[in-house]
């Protein structure tokens, strides 16, 4: 291992000093295509390690909490949650927006950065896209279970029926159904198409018959012929183009849930862009959190390098600052509008009964990420991890602060303080259980780095490679 970390430092040193682009390479000390395959396939092929089982059982416990609390919810009704007048939306919608938002980083990395030819995305896109899919699953969970009569959820879909009844197309909640289900479908397709060559790699390396068959089925007969690659790359490009507008549209639609209502504090035109920035921000927070752990546990330091973290930290800083700007513009607009209700909503946010939540939000989302102005902070895994946790917490509180705006409506006699019940908490904790259960299965059974894409950006793949030493063993 000693010479491996030597190689890492040496490569980093070489590239930092590179007079042309002054950038660290996308991967460190990977001498051949095969070495990359070995690194990435190891977690898929090794004897299931103890630490995986520990995390998996922990996640399964969370999933159990989710199943149990949801079963009780179905049995007893949504009254077990803390929702009531005037706060008729509580944690369920908060969690929904939180999870949908998290997904956005994955789509940004996989689709938008692909169209912009950002080569650094290759090391992290598979991982981030998996996060997107699992986050969308968690997100879809909450609107589904919050309807009360969950067996009638098909009412949200425009299916011809004997009732002669159609969904309310004027309702943004219905737009949500379309936006999020399209988002989920496109994300899964995009992710799966990207997986096919790597699934074939795992299939070809498989030692047991059952692995050969299972991975063989999902690899769809991929042989890696030129024709296959031609079709594959076209399909991938098309799906990237389809997914790109979704990065902007999905969370815009989610913001309409609030923005199209005529409630002071919600009814603002800044909501769509502000939500999108927040979504990408929270998503990158979550990617960093997960990646710091996964790269350590699965020995992917040479594929997911500090350069990736550095880039992600920069995006986090940018989107976090946009979010901070949005917070201040909301106050400015409230004042400038000279609308007493609007002003009240915002002054109440910052100084009212939920001021504690508001200031947690501002601290976590606006203040803490400012450390990313420092390169040292962007290069420190500890700082990255801590800040990303702050971002996750802050972005959950942002949605919470927005939702509980309801606690002081137009009629002071109905003002009330909203508190969640144990079942609200159980559903939220349980959704993390679902998320991590899916993630554990993903890292155990699928290559978590897009092997074929990273190979294409290895120095060996570059016929004009600058560093002879690095490209040794290339073609």
């Amino acid at each position: 291992m000693a010479d491996h970390s030597d190689a890492v430092t040496r490569d980093a040193q070489i590239q930092w000093d590179d007079p042309v682009d002054r950038r660290v390479p996308l991967t460190l000390g990977i001498k051949s295509f095969n070495e990359l395959t070995e690194i990435v396939c190891r977690p898929v092929e090794w004897q299931t390690p103890k630490h995986w089982w520990r995390v998996f059982l922990f996640a399964l416990t969370g999933l159990g909490i989710l199943v149990a609390s949801t079963a009780y919810l179905f049995w007893e009704g949504v009254g077990v949650w803390g929702l009531n007048n005037p706060v008729s939306w509580g944690w369920a919608i908060t969690n929904f927006v939180f999870w949908v938002g998290i997904g956005h980083a994955g789509t940004l990395i996989s689709a938008i950065l692909f169209l912009f030819r950002q080569k650094w995305r290759t090391s992290i896109n598979r991982f981030a896209e998996a996060m997107t899919i699992f986050a969308v699953m968690c997100a879809l969970l909450f609107p589904t279970i919050h309807v009360g009569r969950v067996w009638a959820i098909y009412y949200t879909l425009p299916i011809p029926n004997q009732m002669g009844m159609w969904p309310q197309f004027r309702s943004p909640l219905l737009w949500d159904v379309f936006a999020v289900s399209i988002y989920g479908t496109v994300s899964i397709l995009f992710w799966y198409v990207g997986l096919i060559p790597d699934l074939a790699t795992v299939r070809d390396r498989a030692k047991t018959r059952i692995r050969k068959i299972v991975y063989g089925i999902f690899a769809l007969g991929w042989r890696g012929s030129t024709r296959h690659w031609l079709h594959y790359e076209r399909a991938y490009l098309l799906l990237a183009a389809l997914a790109t507008p979704l990065v902007l549209s999905v969370h815009s639609v989610v913001s309409f849930d609030f923005a199209t209502s005529q409630l002071p504090g919600w009814h603002t035109t800044i909501f769509p862009p502000y939500f999108v920035a927040g979504a990408i921000y929270s998503g990158f927070g979550m990617v960093i959190t997960l990646m710091v752990i996964a790269r350590k546990l699965f020995g992917l330091e040479r594929v997911m390098t500090m350069r990736h973290f550095d880039n992600m930290a920069k995006i986090t800083l940018l989107t976090g600052s946009i979010v901070g700007y949005a917070y201040s513009v909301e106050f400015f607009t409230a004042w400038y509008s000279a609308n007493p209700y609007e002003s009240f909503a915002f002054v109440n946010r910052a100084l009212g009964p939920y001021a504690w939540a508001y200031w947690i939000m501002v601290t976590c989302n606006v203040v803490v990420p400012q450390v990313f102005w420092l390169k040292k902070a962007r290069q420190s895994l500890v700082v990255l991890f801590i800040v990303s946790i702050f971002v996750n917490i802050g972005m959950w509180f942002e949605r919470f602060v927005i939702v509980v705006t309801l606690h002081r409506d137009f009629l002071p006699s109905s003002w009330d303080y909203y508190s969640p019940t144990i079942f609200d908490v159980a559903a939220f904790v349980g959704s993390f259980g679902l998320f991590f259960t899916m993630f554990c299965l993903f890292v155990r059974f699928l290559p978590m780095v897009a092997i074929s894409e990273v190979k294409a950006v290895l120095p060996q793949a570059n016929p004009h490679a600058a560093h002879g030493e690095v490209s040794e063993g290339g073609h």
């Binding site: 004997q162 009732m163 002669g164 009844m165 068959i213 063989g216 769809l220 007969g221």
Partner: protein, 215 residues
């Protein structure tokens, strides 16, 4: 590279696609056809404890519906007549008929005849006969040609979309107030236009919002 799958496996995705598409289409058809009240409810004609014939009474004898279902203009329910109503006539007509044995028994014992209900709406649906009759919706619109049925059978699906089809465009089903129980009256043939009927004080404007029927 070793061969994992036999050659026919190449066709599997195609078969799956075809079976999936046809299966999906069949599923939609199955729910649409066999799940619809048009299939499940229309034609329901249970055997009644007394072989009472509407064809004879309402058709050939031309009795008015309201002689027996006398609450229909005032109440939500169109009453099922008590045995006493039958006996008003059958004290003197067909006194010895075997078919009427159950009616006579009921009359003597005071125990009502257990008629089997044919037209049954769900409990969560509020339906009021009197408003429909007052608006000039004919009995025949919802119950069909009862005057031609020996055994009453459900003629219409009574589904929500069927209710709504009239609530959205009621004019085609409206008739003059005094033709409501006339089974053979056809407003279209008669050239009836509700808007030009001087007896109508206002336009019929049935509710199409949820709580119109689900209160």
């Amino acid at each position: 590279m070793a061969v994992i799958f036999p050659r026919w496996a190449n066709k599997v995705p195609l078969y799956l696609a075809v079976v999936g598409a046809l299966g999906g289409a069949f599923l939609v058809f199955a729910v649409w056809y066999w799940g619809s009240p048009n299939y499940t409810d229309v034609g329901y004609a249970p055997e009644q404890p007394v072989p009472f014939s509407h064809r004879l009474h309402a058709g050939e004898l031309a009795m008015d519906c309201r002689y027996c279902h006398n609450t229909v203009e005032r109440a939500a329910y169109a009453a099922i007549p008590p045995t006493e109503t039958c006996m008003n006539c059958h004290k003197s007509i067909a006194k010895e008929s075997k078919k009427l044995a159950a009616v006579r028994k009921s009359y003597e014992s005071g125990r009502p005849i257990a008629w089997v209900r044919v037209h049954l709406l769900p409990d969560y649906t509020y339906f009021n006969h009197s408003v429909h009759v007052a608006a000039g919706v004919g009995c025949v619109s919802c119950h069909g040609r009862i005057d031609q049925m020996n055994i009453v059978r459900q003629a219409k699906p009574l589904s929500m979309s069927w209710c709504l089809s009239c609530h959205r465009q009621p004019d085609a089903q409206l008739r003059p107030r005094d033709e409501v129980t006339n089974m053979s009256y056809d407003p279209k043939q008669a050239g009836y236009e509700p808007a030009k009927d001087p007896a109508r004080k206002r336009k019929v404007d049935p509710p199409i919002h949820c709580s119109g029927c689900h209160r």
